[in-house]
Symmetry: C2
């Protein structure tokens, strides 16, 4: 089981070094973005992945010049239109010429639309959702936080997919039976005033009935109960998950976003992020992410991509 | 301007030492709670406050024996019934025999009902809300987080009161013109899919029109934009608040609760909590709070109570 962000990067290196077909390939959609080019160049230089740059080749060349990036090491595909660039990057993964889709200079919605296209995309019959992997100096293992970036107010059935996607990510980190905490503002069920507490209760029971296998689910739990055994004990909560969660499922995008950012921006944590649920992982870094987060996110995507191939 | 939780405690000591009528008084509702008694005894021993213990005197005496707490130093009022105990504690504050209401062994709802009673309570014509004061090792000043404990899904007008209450708390900390960030999952307004972003826009404009004076309000802001100047700069956000917020207003109780607890339980932060908006501050500590949080919460309540008296 991987315990740190650095170990994610090391494990990705190990898998790449054992890979008979060499470095895995990132398909970058609308690659004319300096920071994304910087991140893929770092990955290339350290032998982690190579990239096919899909986008406006003239603008890519300009950015490459600024970065002193050796463009002859890259395959380029010219697509000025960003919608077209997204479709092409996705097609490269469909055709197994690349393993991971990476977002460049285009809206997330445009990229996800290409990913989710039922005919030409990477639709896997499941909702896509964002997972953040967090290494906090105040927790004893990695934490997966979901979904603070894509699904605004997920329904009960959508939460089932959000949980499954997070469990797939946990599996790539070597967590065989992840402990899933469904977060709310408290641990009591108040179905009238706080519907998310009732949903959490339903999802927990679905897990006990075998309807959501491969994990332990418990909720509603307030965050302190989920990550702090002593807080759970004082509250008298009996749970396989409380105090030892691997996955924190937020009730909605606001809570998920605030949680992820509280840990990164005000909690001294390191992070990596990914979109799960499609036939291949999608790296969606934000311009405000540090180079470290981008590097870790690429490594995490590679772990997930390798894991998916092993399952086939 | 106070910069640390410890300085809140020191400032409370300073105000108490200058107070002609001696130590201020806490009215404890349903005081038969060992941890609450421990907290008020600490406050008494360090000369910060004395307490009137309202509740089941026999059970109070039992707990006092366990703690070796000198009950002859306390005024006791026997009220077996917790609803009655809440009403009596509130009455003590109404009659100016105490300055702060403190929750003992009863439900928050029961206590707040007594506080909000329009005839016998401490109703001040305003919504009551919870504020958490946070000292994070990753931020350059104290942060007020609201409301993660009382108001589930506040309306626009309720958010105005939540902001006012937080500003009153900021004033007690010596922050003359607090910077208020209205949190959402992003900084763009999406009124259809994320109503809280539109509410944040309205509240920001109300502030510019002078309808919510005494502070700078800006939103929607994602948490990173609110507390990290570099993240705000990269996103091109022009704002008096971004990167330097004093007050973080969560869109709802789930986001507020997760934020407060992320900082305390996974962020290495120190905290204090309080209910604002009534005619006197109400200390609502939870059993899972550490002794340090309880001590700081009492000191914070005293600062607010002294501040309110100065305004009269």
């Amino acid at each position: 089981m991987l315990q740190t962000i650095e170990s994610i990067i090391q494990e990705a290196h190990r898998l790449v070094s054992m890979n008979p077909s060499g470095m895995p390939v990132l398909a970058v959609a609308a690659a004319q973005d300096r920071e994304v080019l910087e991140a893929v160049e770092t990955a290339r230089k350290e032998g982690l992945a190579r990239a096919i740059l899909v986008g406006d080749t003239q603008r890519i060349a300009e950015e490459a010049r600024h970065l002193a990036l050796p463009l002859d090491e890259y395959e380029l595909i010219h697509e000025e239109n960003v919608t077209q660039a997204a479709a092409t990057a996705v097609r490269l993964v469909r055709e197994k010429r690349a393993s991971v889709v990476m977002k460049g200079l285009l809206d997330t919605a445009v990229l996800l639309k290409a990913v989710l296209n039922k005919e030409t995309g990477l639709h896997a019959g499941r909702l896509v959702s964002h997972v953040g992997v967090i290494e906090s100096p105040y927790y004893h293992k990695l934490l997966i936080v979901t979904d603070g970036a894509i699904n605004i107010a997920p329904s009960l059935t959508e939460k089932v997919d959000i949980i499954r996607n997070a469990c797939d990510c946990a599996m790539a980190l070597g967590i065989a039976l992840p402990k899933v905490a469904l977060l709310a503002a408290l641990e009591k069920i108040n179905s009238e005033k706080m519907p998310c507490t009732a949903e959490a209760a339903i999802l927990s029971q679905m897990n006990r009935r075998g309807q959501i296998p491969g994990c332990y689910i418990d909720g509603p739990l307030a965050l302190d109960n989920a990550v702090n055994k002593e807080a759970a004990r004082i509250k008298g909560i009996e749970s396989d998950v409380a105090g030892d969660a691997d996955i924190l499922v937020a009730p909605d995008i606001e809570a998920g976003n605030v949680l992820y950012k509280a840990l990164i921006d005000l909690g001294g944590a390191k992070g990596a992020g990914l979109v799960m649920g499609a036939a291949a992982p999608v790296v969606l870094t934000s311009r405000a992410d540090t180079a470290e987060v981008k590097r870790a996110s690429i490594a995490l995507a590679l772990l997930v991509a390798f894991g998916a191939r092993e399952k086939q």
